[in-house]
Structure formats: structure tokens, C-alpha cells
């Protein structure tokens, strides 16, 4: 096997890793900011894909579909935060039940509105085909995914580190009560955190649509896919999400070459190993 057999899987691995990164980053934002594990994150991933499908088919434009998918999930994130407000601060199981309850509701809605067969949206003409990089042929769409995901990731980082909003996020993540003691209305920030966190997942789902298609029952699978990333990167550790996701993506892709039937299990096996060796995650740094 020469190098070129690895290149394409590597690229696809990085691409799928980055898609999951977006969803996982959204999760980590909600976990670190509000202590909420959103078990419906997979459902919003599917919803983003679903809306993208409908709008994409109607307008003939994938990009418009993606924008629609992101926007719809963005606003639903606000609704989700509102629905969680009565129980934030009470026992953690309640927020988890509510997010799962919402996932249940969405599951049924997916089946009713979209039907149970797998549907997909065609890759737009300008993104089809291969790009020649050096001596390798790489599918254009995967490069698009990598580019789009990194762009959004960059935007997220800029907001987080360089804007007032991000400043409030960082403060809330480290000390919620003190932020309140400073007179800041934290509820607005919470809502923004949720909207962004959910929208990231919706966007990821839309991005993923031309590759994997839309499956009405895919919510749990989409959630399960980010669990290893979250554990290996550190639950709630936003900085660790990207390296963890890329790591998992590449690992899975390489594993697929050697274990075509079992490569799905590799991330979870690695996750178990990480729990054994370094339970707080491989990519965490001790702050303070």
C-alpha cells in the first residue's frame, strides 16, 4: 500500500470528524455554560439535515438549504433554553429527561413529515467531482466540508475570544454566580449559548446531508457519534473538541481500511481506553 491509498480516507476522515466537531462543540458550549447535557443534540443534527433537504429541493440550492437548516435550529435553540429554564438548578436528571423528551418528540415528527425512507440531496454541480492536489484526486465536496467547518470553527473562536458576547460566555463558564453578582442578565447569555450550540449541530447536519442522506431515525446515531469525541476531548472542554474530533475522524477512517465491518467500534473502544487512563479527557489542560 502506498501513500495515496491513505490520502483520500484521511481527507474523508478529517471531513467527517469536522462535521462531528461542530455538533460536539455545540454540546460542550451548553455543557460548560449551563451544565446541561443535551441529549437531543442528535435530533437537531437530523433536523438541520431535514430542513436543508426541503429547502434545498425547493430552491435548488444546497447553500440556501444549509442556511435554512442552521436558522431553524438556531431559533429552536432559544425555545429549548426556555423549556429548560424551570428545571435548571434542580437535579441534573431533569434537564436530561427534558432534552430526551424533546428528542422523542422530534423523532416522531421526522417520521411523519419526512417519511421513513432515506432521502438525499444531490451535491450541487460546482461541488461535484474531484480536485487534483499534487498527485492525489480528492472529492471536492469533502474539501468544501473541511473548509466550511473550519470557517465556522474560526468564527466561533473569534466570537468566543474576541467579542463581548464571548467574554460573557467565558465568564459564565468559569463562574456563573459571580457574573450575576455583577448585574449581568445571564439569561440572555444562556439563550445565546443554546441557540449557538444547537445551530452548530443543525449546520453540521445540513453539511452532512449530501454525504449520508437524511434518515428519520438517525438522531440517536448522530448523538452516539459525538459521545466518544466529547469524552476523549473532555466533557465541557471547548478547546479540546477540535483535536478530539479530528483524531476520531482520522482514526475511524484509517480503521475502515483495516476493519471494514468493525471500524464503527473503534471510537468507542478508544473512549473506553481513555476513561481508563485519563478520565478527564486526553485533550484537557488544567487551567488555574
Amino acid at each position: 500500500m502506498n501513500l495515496s491509498t491513505y490520502v483520500v480516507p484521511l481527507i474523508t476522515g478529517v471531513a467527517s470528524g469536522l462535521i462531528l466537531y461542530l455538533s460536539a462543540a455545540g454540546m460542550n458550549l451548553m455543557i460548560s455554560g449551563l451544565g446541561v447535557i443535551n441529549f437531543g443534540q442528535g435530533a437537531f443534527f437530523v433536523l438541520g439535515a431535514g430542513v436543508c433537504l426541503i429547502v434545498g429541493k425547493a430552491t435548488g440550492s444546497l447553500l440556501q438549504g444549509m442556511a435554512a437548516g442552521t436558522l431553524v435550529t438556531f431559533f429552536l435553540g432559544g425555545l429549548l433554553e426556555l423549556s429548560l429554564r424551570p428545571v435548571v438548578g434542580k437535579k441534573m436528571e431533569l434537564t436530561l429527561m427534558i432534552t430526551m423528551g424533546i428528542a422523542y418528540i422530534l423523532d416522531d415528527i421526522f417520521e411523519i413529515v419526512w417519511g421513513s425512507s432515506v432521502q438525499t440531496l444531490a451535491i450541487p454541480v460546482w461541488l461535484r467531482g474531484l480536485v487534483t492536489v499534487g498527485s492525489f484526486q480528492i472529492p471536492k465536496y469533502y474539501l468544501f466540508i473541511i473548509g466550511a467547518a473550519l470557517l465556522i470553527g474560526l468564527a466561533f473562536w473569534i466570537v468566543f475570544e474576541k467579542t463581548r458576547l464571548g467574554m460573557r460566555f467565558r465568564a459564565i463558564i468559569s463562574n456563573r454566580d459571580m457574573v450575576e453578582a455583577l448585574g449581568v442578565n445571564v439569561h440572555l447569555s444562556y439563550m445565546m449559548m443554546f441557540m449557538i450550540g444547537i445551530a452548530l449541530s443543525g449546520f453540521a447536519g445540513a453539511l452532512n446531508l449530501p454525504i449520508s442522506g437524511f434518515t428519520a431515525t438517525g438522531a440517536m446515531g448522530a448523538f452516539g457519534a459525538i459521545v466518544p469525541i466529547l469524552v476523549i476531548g473532555g466533557l465541557g472542554n471547548i478547546q479540546g473538541t477540535l483535536p478530539s474530533a479530528v483524531f476520531i475522524g482520522v482514526l475511524s477512517a484509517v480503521a475502515a481500511l483495516f476493519l471494514p465491518k468493525l471500524y464503527n467500534l473503534v471510537p468507542t473502544v478508544v473512549m473506553v481506553l481513555v476513561i481508563m487512563i485519563k478520565p478527564q479527557g486526553l485533550f484537557t489542560r488544567k487551567e488555574r
Binding site: A171, S174, M178, E180, G183
Partner: protein, 237 residues
Amino acid sequence: MILKLHDVNAYYGSSHILFDMDLEVEEGDSVCILGRNGVGKSTTLKSIMGLLNPKNHASVTGSIMFQGQELVKKPTYKISRAGVGYVPQGRQIFPTLSTKENLLLAAKAGPDGSRFWDLDKIYELFPSLKNRESVKGARLSGGEQQMLAIARGLMQNPKLLLLDEITEGLAPIVVDELVEVVERLRSYNVSILVAEQNVRFAMSVSRHCYIIEKGSVVYYGETAKIPPEIIEQYLGA
């Protein structure tokens, strides 16, 4: 009178900490709350700030009037907006925010709309903070963090500043700096309520003094005129 506590009882779960507490602060005055470890000094300030609430399994009864508003049962952020600034025990600087960001986060107009305390004014009063403007909170020294915590409290343009055990863990030379800082605050007519274990510090920055024992006030008077026997009795080592 800018602050008046009347018959205040505070509970952490079923632990009764403050018993029928009465306390007053005149506008522009600086008042200290003295007492041994665990008598309820911090709890008093936290009660004023609304930090004893159902979420923390704590509760407060009685009346805390601040400029005509009842603070008991008000959420913390509303108390802050009403004009009470809190410099918490342990400083609680945001570690992932820079000095400047810590200040900007707190920046707001006072209840009367005044924006007297802004970044420039703060840097005037705390020149060392300007030098450390872009340093992340986690990397500041204890003394710097304390200055930042006080500065952050001021950025809210409060009418009343609560200082909770600010000398804790600081070297004597830093404590002396703090005395200067608080003195200058008084010259700006900021009302100050200080909870302190460090008797020397508290007495050098306050004009009036409450001494607490077992959650109740046992002595009140002008700081300069406290009889040494009283100090010995309630604060003696």
C-alpha cells in the same frame, strides 16, 4: 440612611446563622463588621447581595432596605443593578478573562445613571492594573487580584460597596496598599461596608463599627472610640 437591616435571620439549610440582625449604614459612611471566624460576617454581606437563595439551599427573612428598596427575595442581578457592588470573599476573578475584560464585564451605569467609574478612572486609581491589562486573571498575584476585584466592584458604579474579607491571604504590605485604596474610595463618597477578620485593617478604614458574635450584633459604635476591653472580649485571640 443608605442601608438598613432589620430583624434579619439567615439560614443555610437548617443552620441558623444570623439571628435578628439589625444594622445600618449612613450614606457616605464606611462601616465595618468585625468578629471572630464563623460568626456570620460574610453571611451578612451575602444576605444583602441575595446570594442566600433556594438554589443554594439557603434563605433570608426580615428586611434589608437599600435606598428605599426591599432587597430580601430579590434576585442577585437586580440587587447589583439597584446599586450594590459586591467584592466577594476569595476575589473570584474570572480566570480566563484578561484584567481589562474582567473590568469591562462589570462596566455599567449606576442606578442614577452615573458613569463616573469607567476604565480610565479605574486605571487612575489602580495604575498597576493598567500595566497588567491584557494578562489573564489566573496569572495575577493575590494582591493584584484583590485590586482587580475591588476595581471590578467600582466599575458597576455602585452606591454601596460590600467588601468581603478582602485582606484574606494577603501580605501585610499589600494590606497597607488596600488601606490607601479604601481611603481614596471614601473620598469619592462611596458608601462602604466591610466584613473583616483583620481588626487593624478594618479599624483603619472605617468610621463606624459593628461587632458580631454568634450571628447577632453585640456592639456598635464609632471605630475610634471602641473600648479596648470590648475588642479583647469579642475579638481577642
